[in-house]
Amino acid sequence: MRLFENARYPFMEWRTRAYLITAVLLIAGFAAMAYNVTSIGSWLKYGVDFTGGSLVQVDFKRPTTVEQIRSAAARGGHDDWEIARFGSGDAFVIRMPTFEQEVGSDASVRVAQGLSSAYQPADFTVVRTEALGAKVGDELQLKALWAILLSFAATLVYLGFRFEWRFGLAAIIATAHDILITLGFLAVTRTEISLTTIAALLTIVGYSLNDTIVVFDRIRENLAKPHRTGSSYMQLLNTSINETLSRTVLTGGSTLATLLALYFFGGGVIQDFALVLLLGIVIGTFSSIFVASPALYEIEKRWPKYNAKGKTRPASQTKTSRSASSSALV
């Protein structure tokens, strides 16, 4: 069995349709972000990791509901506690806007006091607490942004060195596309942004780059081959995408399979992580076909190089030098 043997899909011709999809997704995302700013005060729904405050996960030993806990908390004078069921079973997450750092006022003690009107301490166990000052959260956000920008810069330098600057730029456009659309999705669904979400976003950066580079590697190789007369840059890009199509689908498929397993069987915390990644992988696969190569094409249109220098222009790196370095590595 071979998938996509001698595939000749006109991906590049479909690029305007792909641009449309991208534009719609981006606009929807930005609109949701703008709407979130007016309705919840921030463009994404930040979790405790960013806003500061406390999060307490409580496992109840008898069945109970969010409403029951909420009314117990309200009787205890805690209307501002946000209560949500966590995963399956009788686990709940309580979010408190306050960050207590006073000695002796443990979050678990506060939960026991706050719920004392309806629950005995023996009815539940506190299995997880997270408490952060607001300053730490701000720092985290800055660090995440910093990490993404740094990785962009490093990618640009690396691809500039191994390929050519236009490949680096196109790869970054594709990756930025993936991150923006994923963030847009998070804004639409109001998924809570936590430290794990950041880890997931950064993984998407890695995966998307990985996917894009495989296609670019084939383009680089085809550029180095003597061209058939009359073949355009666009045809070359299209051929390269088709040649790597089976790999793109197979790798994407196996990664999706593991992520689906994580999503369905990983439980609570890992579910959010897997969901963001699932989304990111789908978008990343889409972008390595419909964004990265078209971006390369648009760059080529603006700063022509392929047609300007005649038909048999070797790529910046020749095949021979590469196989020399390959044998050194093997």
Binding site: Y158, S254, A261, L262
Partner: protein, 528 residues
């Protein structure tokens, strides 16, 4: 060729045995209780349960110049480490994060609240002379006036029945004068050099004495200090004593050498006895000798614990009365005194606690999800590439052992996002194999021989594998550099995963293919 193959197989065997060795070494490594830890890879706090605390210098309480801050955090780190060690917690981690933060990791649930209290205590011990009431009371009318001016009668209005005046003087209509004497009506003189403030009035009085105008009225070189809460029979706070003391300490805790918790044989209350160094003892002896008959406040973190009258010269021994409380509180105090004072107060800025049962759940879920995910990948690869797929799966198994072995060798901790990273990297490791197999198929389709197809397939796929993996590796390095805690754990796992994946795909799969191709004739072809 055969020689080459033997070398390759030997390298793979060494890598495999090395990994297994490190895994076994960690597994059988004796834990704190002397028994083997049974953990082949060190688990992060989020998996085995425990608390992580991040501490910073509390800038609201101590103003430090930038160069002082760097020095202060380093000294604080040492003292925090000593205190944590003395807590008796198994294998604690105390490390500096960034320029201004201390991270403390305590495995298991070993008294989180107690640890928090011990860590945040500055434990700055001072002995300050107490001024007499008479000296002080002259200034009271002026303080009343200043307070009324500054806060208006609204801020100074007494709550009915809550004033000390109403309690001590027992006079009706005291409340009406309370408006004009907001300060005097709330502080009642008791004993030689102390005042008592009702519990309900403490916040008000705190506000008054914090006013700069009030502080200017105090005798030069003196300050107000609060005593520890006075507790009644039901352990409820009855009130607090207020002292006027010399700002300059006659003696500080830097000379303290030993501190021990005890129960006072007379009062049966917990006390901490301490011993000063010989040099400190001489200083103390001289200072107390000059002040016989006067009251001396024993001050810890700006709070007066006791204020005994100096009866005779005191040498190098003394004691601190906790005024109630438990013996455990006394031993915690003794602990922080022994460890030394923090250069500045610390504040907890981040706290994460995971119960052991939740950690176990995470491991179980992760394991199940991992197994299912891997099974799906194995089925896909074998279904699509047949026998070559089997070779890839063998390489993948080796890959997993290599990753875990490398983590064991590097002493890296496996965190929850780390498990996710691991499972994901398995998915991505398949990518390298897919790239190679697709290339081999392409070469075979062009009619090349098996040998040529294999070697061309590998070398053609190489540039894509190297470039894509190196960029991901760069991202992982940046994550490690920028991130903290769980993100770092993820970055480490990812980086190890990428390196191991490059090794298995480029080297191990290739060797397996060489062995496989050795046994096939051109007519048989290969199963791919």
């Amino acid at each position: 060729m055969l020689q080459n193959l033997k070398v390759r197989l030997a390298i793979i065997a060494v890598a495999l045995l090395g990994s297994l060795f490190f895994l076994y070494r960690n597994y059988s490594h004796p834990g704190p209780d002397g028994k083997p830890t049974r953990q082949a890879v060190t688990l992060g706090l989020d998996l085995q349960g425990g608390s992580q605390l991040a501490l910073e210098i509390d800038e609201s309480k101590a103003r430090l110049a930038p160069e002082q801050r760097a020095d202060a955090i380093d000294r604080a780190l040492k003292i925090v480490r000593t205190r944590v060690d003395e807590l008796g917690v198994a294998e604690p981690v105390v490390q500096k994060a960034g320029d201004d933060r201390i991270i403390v990791e305590l495995a298991g649930l070993q008294g989180g609240a107690r640890a928090k209290e011990v860590l945040q205590r500055t434990a700055f011990l001072q002995f300050q002379m107490v001024h007499s009431i008479a000296e002080m009371q002259q200034a009271f009318p002026r303080i009343d006036r200043v307070v009324t001016e500054a806060l208006g009668t609204k801020g100074a209005a007494p709550k009915p029945g809550s004033t000390v005046g109403g309690l001590f003087k027992g006079a009706a209509g005291q409340d009406s004068t309370g408006g004009a004497t907001p300060f005097t009506s709330k502080v009642a003189p008791v004993g030689e050099g102390e005042f008592l403030v009702q519990a309900a009035d403490v916040p008000e009085v705190e506000r008054y004495i914090a006013l700069p105008a009030v502080q200017r009225l105090l005798p030069r070189g003196t300050e107000f200090l609060w005593g520890t809460p006075e507790r009644g029979t039901q352990q409820a706070e009855q009130g607090r004593r207020l002292f006027l003391v010399d700002s300059r300490a006659m003696m500080t805790g830097e000379y303290l050498e030993q501190a021990q918790a005890q129960t006072d044989p007379q009062s049966m209350r917990p006390i901490v006895t301490f011993e000063l160094s010989r040099r400190g003892g001489r200083v103390f002896e001289k200072a107390t000798g000059e002040n016989i008959g006067k009251q001396m406040a024993i001050v810890l973190d700006d709070r007066v614990f006791s204020a005994p009258v100096i009866q005779s010269q005191i040498g190098n021994r003394g004691q601190i009365d906790l005024g109630g409380g438990t013996l455990e509180e006394a031993s915690d105090l003794a602990l922080v005194l022994r460890a030394g004072a923090l250069p500045a107060p610390l504040r907890i800025v981040e706290e994460r606690t995971i119960g052991p049962s939740l950690g176990q759940d995470s491991i179980d879920n992760g394991r199940l999800a991992g197994l299912i995910g891997i099974a799906a990948v194995v089925l896909m690869v074998i279904g699509y590439y047949h026998f070559s797929g089997v070779l890839a799966v063998i390489a993948l198994c080796l890959y997993v052992v290599l990753i875990l072995g490398s983590m064991a060798a590097l002493g890296a901790t496996l965190t929850f996002p780390g498990i996710a990273g691991l499972i994901l990297s398995v998915g991505m490791a398949v990518d390298a194999n897919v790239l190679i197999f697709e290339r081999i198929r392409e070469e075979l389709a062009l009619g090349r021989s098996i040998r040529t197809s294999i070697s061309e397939g590998f070398s053609n796929a190489l540039s894509a594998i190297v470039d894509s993996n190196l960029t991901t590796l760069i991202t992982a390095a940046i994550l490690y550099y920028v991130g903290t805690g769980p993100v770092r754990g993820f970055a480490v796992t990812l980086a190890i995963g990428i390196i191991a994946s490059m090794f298995t795909a480029i080297f191990v799969t290739r060797t397996l293919f060489m062995v496989y191709a050795e046994r096939r004739t051109a007519a048989q072809g290969i199963s791919i």
